[in-house]
């Protein structure tokens, strides 16, 4: 247990500041956008004014000069003077502090009250919490300004009343937001884990919930401050806010308005100040929200229909002359022909290629499996084929032909029809691949309406028919149900049914049964099998489960670090695999015959980070057969003449101790740490 720590600690030390700087970098990146920079600068200016203007000019601003009463703009008085001859420009500047200060104070109170009300349900428990939530809901329904005026009457006309009024008017919305965010976090497992660990409710709130909802709250408080500023100006303008002799922008605006026809500058100057300060707060908040929102949506990484490189040099190769690396043994017509497919994402340290030169072909009705650990690029390969790789990602290939059509060349539109009808994709999580707000039948029907131009009614009839075809019981009734009313297996069937709305030639199934129970998994696999044999549909089945692939597929592609390292008949997976990775992968799956007295075999080390591909064979650091050559030269995927392909310098050699750690637990621990 003591061998490995050395190499891990520098990693921690290095990673620690990275995290901090990542958070700082996120805020900095907000300031780098034009809106963010402008808003930030404006906000800084406003705050500086609020602090320093009264110190510098408050005396001058209060100097009464009866000789120059109600003057217009001039070189001496930039925006003129008021009815006591005081300089209005300076008064607007000096009023910044009171205006901003009061707005911030009101916001602060609103935030505190909102936080207390919003987190109360968490602290009080279910029943009392529900009362608070109901109260907040009612308060939210009241228009804010109306509430403010109402409070101003109660608390009395004046500064205190106005601050409290605006604070209490803003609090419910903030409480609602806090409650929603907190409730989301409170449902997560780590909160449950902390509860089991005996963490009290208050501590739970302070240590687990609030830090995880802090960012959106700060953003909303900033925007709220802008709102409070405007409300405050409004109240003062109405005479419900700041009272003479104090003055804020709203007050100045009111004073100036009486003479707006004579010299409008007196009213315009405070008006402009209000707008500028309000904008500064709101824009800054929005910019930050956008910056933060952007980063989270990037990290969640949902695939969006996006771009294959449009400027690709079209390699219209004639059908013959295919490279020898690809077995041309796909019987009958080729459905999918992939040559040298790569997917590249821009990374902080140069482009990252999670898929590196994948080549394979699928014949009509053939079932091909793709196995590999997570991060091996298997799902990305599927997405690239379906043209579903997200925007910064770039798909290149020497050839990517589906049904003889080059799907990389040309626009999305030209392929939509082809992919929409002849290509079906089944994702891992059928819950997220259906729109939860629409009925299943309609979602299926939409496919036919879009791609086959069917009428609504006929399309729905076909949807019911297809649901029946995928053995959804009581298809007619279930077509009218929403996705959440379907069980996991049923949703997956419906998803397959959606693929069958057209006449698919290829079904790409990305971990279709991973989220399902074994009994249901079997049903779904049986269904895929019967669909395949009934209509001669090819299947590309991507799975981390070697056993599933071995059962369903004719041929298996084993992927590691973005490359196909072995291509072999599924029947030979357990017996005749030649790549050490394939053998290790098969060995790690516990089956019903695994020896109970020995530790499970594991693959030592960790999968390769796509950003740091080693120069030689990517598997070499984990490989028991690795030699010097392996760490220097990357072996090519070579066809042995029988259609089996393998990329290994030591293909077929048997390792003396194929990663069975036996009695040495150290070998196990190394596995995770390295």
């Amino acid at each position: 247990m003591t061998t490995a720590p050395m190499n891990a600690s520098p990693l921690v030390a290095a990673a620690e500041p990275t995290r901090r700087s990542a958070a700082r970098g996120r805020w900095l990146s907000v300031l780098r956008t034009p809106v963010g920079a402008g808003a930030g600068l404006l906000l800084l200016l406003v705050l500086l004014l609020a602090v320093f203007a009264p110190l510098l000019w408050s005396e001058q601003a209060d100097t009464i000069d009866t000789d120059s009463v109600l003057q217009g703009a001039s070189g001496q008085h930039w925006v003129g003077t008021d009815n006591l001859g005081r300089d209005l420009f300076l008064r607007v500047l000096v009023a910044t502090r009171l205006s901003i200060g009061l707005a911030l104070l009101a916001t602060l109170i609103a935030v505190v009250v909102g936080l207390v009300l919003g987190t109360a349900p968490l602290l009080l428990g279910r029943r009392a919490g529900r009362l608070v939530v109901a109260g907040v809901d009612i308060a939210v329904a009241f228009p804010g300004l109306l509430l403010a005026i109402f409070f101003a009457v109660i608390f009395g006309v004046g500064m205190t009343g106005a601050v409290l009024a605006i604070a209490f008017a803003g609090a419910p919305a903030f409480a609602r937001l806090t409650h929603t965010l907190a409730a989301g976090v409170a449902e997560r497992d780590f909160v449950a884990a902390a509860r089991i660990a005996g963490v009290g409710r208050l501590r739970l709130l302070l240590r687990h919930v609030l830090p995880n909802i802090g960012e959106p709250l700060v953003v909303n408080a900033t925007i709220g401050a802008g709102g409070a500023l405007l409300s405050f100006a409004g109240l003062s303008f109405l005479g419900l806010g700041v009272q003479a002799p104090s003055y804020d922008w709203g007050r100045l605006l009111q004073d100036g308005l009486s003479g707006i026809y004579i010299h409008p500058e007196a009213a315009l100057a405070p008006g402009v100040a209000i707008v500028v300060a309000g904008l500064a707060f709101n824009l800054f908040g929005e910019a930050v929200a956008k910056g933060i929102g952007l980063t989270t949506s990037l990290s969640s990484g949902q695939a969006v229909r996006g771009a294959a490189r449009p400027d690709r040099e079209v390699a219209e190769v004639v059908d013959d002359g295919r490279p020898a690396t690809d077995p041309g043994r796909a019987e009958g017509r080729t459905v999918l022909d992939v040559q040298d497919l790569s997917v590249t994402f821009p990374g902080p340290a140069g482009p990252v290629r999670p898929v590196r030169g994948v080549s394979f072909r699928i014949g009509r009705g053939e079932a091909v499996g793709v196995v590999g650990e997570s991060g091996s690029g298997k799902s990305l390969t599927a997405l690239a084929i379906a043209r579903l790789v997200e925007r910064p990602g770039e798909v290149t290939a020497e050839r990517l032909e589906f049904m003889g059509t080059d799907v990389l060349a040309g626009t999305d539109r030209t392929h939509r029809r082809l992919l929409g009808t002849a290509f079906a994709m089944v994702f891992q999580d059928p819950m997220t691949s259906f729109n939860p707000t629409r009925r299943i039948g309609r979602q299926l029907a939409e496919v036919a309406e879009q791609h086959q131009g069917m009428s609504r009614k006929i399309a729905l009839a076909r949807a019911v028919d297809r649901l029946r075809a995928v053995r959804v019981p009581a298809a007619e009734r279930r077509a009218h149900q929403y996705p959440h009313e379907f069980s996991g297996g049923m949703r997956q069937r419906a998803m397959i049914g959606m693929g069958l709305m057209g006449e698919p030639k290829l079904i790409v199934a990305d971990e279709p049964t991973t989220a399902l129970d074994v009994t249901v998994q079997r049903q779904v696999l049986d269904l895929l099998e019967s669909v395949r044999t009934a209509d001669d549909v090819a299947l590309l089945l991507i799975s981390h489960d070697v056993a599933v692939v071995a059962q369903v597929c004719d041929r298996v592609l084993v992927m590691y670090a973005g490359r196909v390292v072995e291509d072999l008949p599924a029947a030979e997976l357990g017996t005749a695999a030649r790549h050490p990775y394939t053998r290790a992968l098969v060995a790690t799956v516990p089956d019903m015959h695994v020896d109970l007295d020995r530790p499970l075999p594991v693959i030592p080390g960790r999968p390769v980070d796509p950003a740091h591909q080693p120069p030689g064979c990517a598997y070499a650091p984990r490989c028991p057969l690795a030699s010097a050559r392996c760490t220097e030269e990357d072996p090519a995927l070579v066809d042995d003449g029988t259609g089996r392909r393998v990329a290994c310098w030591h293909a077929g050699e048997i390792a003396a101790d194929l990663e069975v750690p036996g009695a040495a637990p150290v070998a196990l621990t190394m596995g995770e740490r390295a």
């Binding site: 247990m1 720590p5 891990a8 600690s9 921690v12 990673a15 620690e16 995290r19 997560r188 780590f190 449950a192 884990a193 902390a194 509860r195 089991i196 660990a197 005996g198 009290g200 240590r207 830090p211 650990e373 053995r471 069980s487 996991g488 129970d517 074994v518 009994t519 998994q521 079997r522 696999l525 049986d526 099998e529 981390h544 489960d545 070697v546 056993a547 599933v548 071995a550 059962q551 369903v552 029947a571 997976l573 357990g574 290790a584 098969v586 790690t588 799956v589 516990p590 089956d591 019903m592 695994v594 530790p599 499970l600 594991v602 637990p665 196990l668 621990t669 596995g671 995770e672 740490r673």
Partner: protein, 325 residues
């Protein structure tokens, strides 16, 4: 470590009109120092049972006994700890793993002792103690699951409930976590309720197996016996559905249309469990295949069978399972 006993435990969600009974009168004992594997499909109530054991879900009937005494959830770390399925959501992303583990160390421990305890636990789960300052985002899934295990152990639990702890992990990493569980169990003698849908995994870890279907335990016995000679048809179906790495086509769909229909039947809806034996709509030896077996539709089977199998047509056996030998 101690014995955890579920005695006629029921958990109901929702109100009287629109609710569901997720766990329906379950009696199950996790003997001192043993690992009981709980298998069943999603919706069978196994996770609910786990959450009930740690007090995250209130019981609506029965009781849970720890060493014969009703489980009480007072302040401080609970005596039954849980490891969750998804290591990506069970660790607070804003907290270092050291803090997460330290939080579960019983209150009143001095800071230095707490730190030492965290380091010891990290070492116990085969992680470098210097990584205590790392955030979960810097760890792989397998490493996070180790941290989650360490946190459960930090509370000095009497029983650990492991809810599908390897199903979110890659196969190559699953092995390391399972090996760790086995090692810890052997070293510490932890009593454990090990929940998984993967029979091969349960077989490797557990000494006893309990099969759950729609809120009930339908079979329970020593792992080797249950797997070698399953008594309940559901257990048999579960076993048959395990994909075998020996290649070949999936078993051909049964020629008998009745059997085929049963095999393709949808999992029952826990909101409205069928009357009689809950498995009868999917049962290959039930009323849909054998027309004369109407008893399955009407009468709930007793568990007076071998492996306490809740099936009318299972061979008779001991009435009660061994009560702590």
């Amino acid at each position: 470590m101690s014995e955890l006993r579920f005695s006629d435990v029921s958990v109901r969600y929702g109100n009287r009109r629109r609710g569901m009974t997720a766990v329906d009168g379950v009696s199950l004992t996790v003997p001192d120092g043993a690992v009981v594997g709980l298998v069943g499909e999603s919706g069978s109530g196994k996770s609910t049972l786990a959450r009930a054991a740690v007090g995250l879900t209130p019981l609506s009937g029965g009781e849970i006994l720890l060493d014969g005494r009703p489980l009480q959830h007072t302040s401080g770390p609970r005596p039954v700890q849980m490891v969750f399925q998804d290591p990506y959501s069970s660790l607070d992303p804003r907290m270092t793993i050291g803090d997460s583990i330290g939080e579960a160390v019983p209150r009143g421990t001095r800071a230095a002792d707490r730190r030492r305890e965290v380091a010891r636990l990290l070492e116990l789960v085969e992680l470098d103690p210097s990584r205590a300052a790392a955030f979960p985002g810097q760890l792989s899934g397998g490493q996070r699951q180790r941290v989650a295990l360490a946190r459960a152990l930090a509370a000095q639990p009497q029983v650990i409930v492991a809810d599908e702890i390897t199903s979110a992990l890659d196969v190559s990493i699953q092995g390391t976590v399972l090996n760790l569980v086995r090692r810890l169990q052997a070293e510490l003698g932890t009593s454990m309720l090990f929940i998984s849908h993967n029979l091969a995994v349960v077989r490797y870890v557990a000494s006893e197996i309990a099969v759950m279907y729609l809120g009930r335990i339908v079979e329970h016995g020593p792992t080797a016996e249950v797997l070698a000679d399953p008594q309940h048809p559901y257990t048999r179906d579960l076993l048959a559905a395990v994909p075998d790495s020996t290649p070949g086509r999936p078993a051909p769909v049964a020629a008998d249309p009745a059997l085929a229909a049963v095999a393709a039947a949808e999992p029952a809806d826990p909101h409205s469990p069928p009357p009689g034996c809950r498995y009868h709509p999917r049962c290959p030896i039930g009323p849909l295949v054998h027309a004369d077996r109407d008893v399955c539709r009407t009468t709930e089977p007793s568990t007076d069978h071998r492996h306490a199998a809740a099936c009318h047509f299972a061979p008779a056996g001991r009435t009660l399972l061994r009560v702590a030998d």
